[in-house]
Amino acid sequence: MFTLHIGPAFEALIDWLTDNFSGVFDLIRKVLLSGITGLEDILLFLPSLILIVIFALVAWKIAGRGVAAFTLLGFLLIVGMELWPQTMKTLALVMASALIALVLGIPLGIWAARNDMVEKFVRPVLDFMQTMPAFVYLIPAVLFFKLGKVPGAVATVIFSMPPAVRLTNLGIRQVPEDVVEAAKSFGSTPRQLLYKVQLPIATPTILAGVNQTIMLALSMVVISAMIGAGGLGSEVLKGITQLKIGLGFESGIAVVILAMILDRITQALGGTKSK
């Protein structure tokens, strides 16, 4: 048999990138870091109870009474378990990463929907991004951005972006052909077609992508505690490494509560729009 390792080539590529583009990476790192810590500071500046009430009100407005009650009780439990600061740190990282993933992913999805060549190129890249085990992103992320929140955010952006791209692409392509033809037959420009017809009709699907992106971001943020991103993930990690079953369980529950709240609220966002 023969051996063929493509790993060393990848290593060389990463080395070359770190050697030649360290300035760029540093800049990205600084921008991201200030953004994430800024968000953290805001979330931790307000007393937890006030923030919980605000969250519950937002949940009420968007998703109704049940979700509001769940938000209130869930967050109170987290406060009770003394995991509030970690939860807010995780939330800040999720919000920052998901925002970046959406800002990059939705326009990319629109582009892919309007251009078959782009779609052809993007699709395998997305497959790669989604199926590569999430831990693998952590290695180059650390090499480029050192340890801490920033490589965590970068790995999260990469991991959570595919559904935003895919579902935006899908949503626009699913707009019935004759509806697109109708819009064109009245002399719509491509821009009018996009904003007046395709995007509004695709909105529920795109919001499903937003929801998926946020959920994936949350799961990746927890994993990226392994490279020092902090938050609830590091509590889970502590539970595992130090065999603290209670702590591991509590922080695991906190992640689930956060996930459910984010999920219900973003899902409701899609639902109300389509009504």
């Binding site: 019935p176 033809e181 109708a182 037959s185 009245f186 002399g187 009709i201």
Partner: protein, 394 residues
């Protein structure tokens, strides 16, 4: 100048459309070309003209290229070769900006599956074309209300499309197309997705609207009855080719080839074929100045038992039976007037056969076809009514 003039349009789907023209010139069939080259011939050298105010129906089975053809008229599909002139301007050569203008102001389209915008209210659907043109909100809202009332949807302005029945949705589709006041309406199987009764209702309404609006309409259908009902002229398509263009009656009575013949076989001919088509020349006519003896002789020569009497310029006076003429001759009287039967069945030339049937069933004389000023144009004997129904010429 015709409103729309299509000259030698081709549409070939595939990677190298131009390479197919030599094959077409050699007369290769659509199937052969598909098999040998993988290219689909959508339209093969179609030409026609549509006059201002005319309803032009393009009819054919699915796959005949009719939907492709109508999309070439507003360039939703780009023809591979040929010219499409609208008001004398070749739209295949205009810039993209001009094309958009043309679509905004001159051409509007109605779709088979309605193709309403599901996220917009009815009135906002109807407004769409005006919105694209940048018309002020207030003005376009008023216009939309007006058009919705015209198609009988007053009160549904703020509903969503999925709250309406199919027939109502297509009214919205029609209203949306009419809102921009286009010269040309392109209707792609517009009524094909509707229930038979609703379909008939919509056809009647379109005819009614058209009588007021005088738009130029290009109407696609696979339904012959619909084509015959709506079309001033009909083009029959097969395998991307136009095989015949003519008025409904021409298509029915004089099919260009076996394909058209087969197509028109099952049609309810009585609704389309008119008195003018099945009438024939009377065997004999006479003037009232001619006496009974002449009448008898003429009838004997022609082997008939009654003769029509016409005055100057074929003005119909009536009919004389042979027994009355013989009686007059025996009595030695010269004037026919007293025995002319004036109460005979007459009809106008554009009366459809379906309306002639009850008359033909009860009268013992042939039906006389007369013009508006009562001039005799021809007669219809019972046997021609029957042969007209079963579609055999004399």
């Amino acid at each position: 100048m015709p409103k729309i003039e299509v000259k030698n349009i081709y549409k070939i789907f595939g990677s190298r459309p131009k390479s197919i023209f030599p094959h077409l010139e050699k007369g290769m069939s659509k199937d052969e070309i598909l098999e040998k080259t993988g290219h689909t011939v959508g339209i093969n050298n179609a030409s026609f003209q549509v006059e201002q105010g005319e309803t032009f129906v393009i009819m054919g089975l699915s796959g005949s290229g009719k939907s492709t053809l109508i999309r070439c008229l507003n360039r939703l599909i780009e023809p591979s070769a040929g010219e499409v002139l609208i008001d004398g301007e070749n739209i295949l050569e205009t810039s993209y900006q001009e094309l958009l203008k043309m679509r905004q102001r001159k051409l509007a389209m109605v779709f088979q599956r309605f193709a309403l915008f599901p996220h917009r209210t009815i009135v906002k659907n109807v407004e769409y074309g005006l919105e694209i043109q940048g018309v002020e909100a207030q003005v376009r809202r008023e216009k939309a209300y007006e058009v919705l009332e015209l198609v009988g949807l007053k009160g549904y302005e703020e509903s969503m499309p999925d709250q309406l029945s199919g027939g109502m949705q297509q009214r919205v589709g029609l209203a949306r197309a009419l809102a921009t006041d286009p010269d040309v309406l392109l209707m792609d199987e517009a009524f094909s997705a509707l229930d038979p009764l609703i379909k008939k209702e919509m056809q009647d309404e379109l005819l009614e609207l058209q009588a007021k609006m005088h738009k130029t309409i290009v109407f696609i259908t696979h339904d012959l009855d619909e084509a015959l009902k709506l079309g001033d002229r009909i083009a029959v398509m097969k395998d991307g080719k136009i095989v015949q263009i003519g008025t409904p009656e021409e298509i029915l009575t004089d099919p260009a080839n076996a394909y058209v013949k087969e197509f028109v076989q099952d049609v309810d001919r009585t609704k389309v074929i008119t008195a003018a088509t099945i009438m024939r020349k009377p065997d004999a006519v006479m003037s009232p100045k001619e006496g009974p003896r002449v009448a008898v002789r003429k009838m004997e020569e022609a082997g008939i038992s009654s003769i029509y009497v016409t005055g100057k310029d074929k003005y119909l006076k009536g009919l004389v039976r042979i027994e009355d003429a013989v009686r007059l001759a025996k009595e030695g009287k010269d004037n026919l007037e007293e025995v002319i039967i004036k109460d005979i069945p007459t009809t106008a030339p554009d009366t459809p056969m379906v309306d002639l049937l009850p008359v033909a069933a009860t009268t013992s004389y042939p039906i006389v076809v007369v013009s508006e000023d009562n001039k005799m144009l021809g007669i219809i004997v019972r046997v021609s009514v029957i042969s007209g129904i079963i579609g055999r010429g004399d």
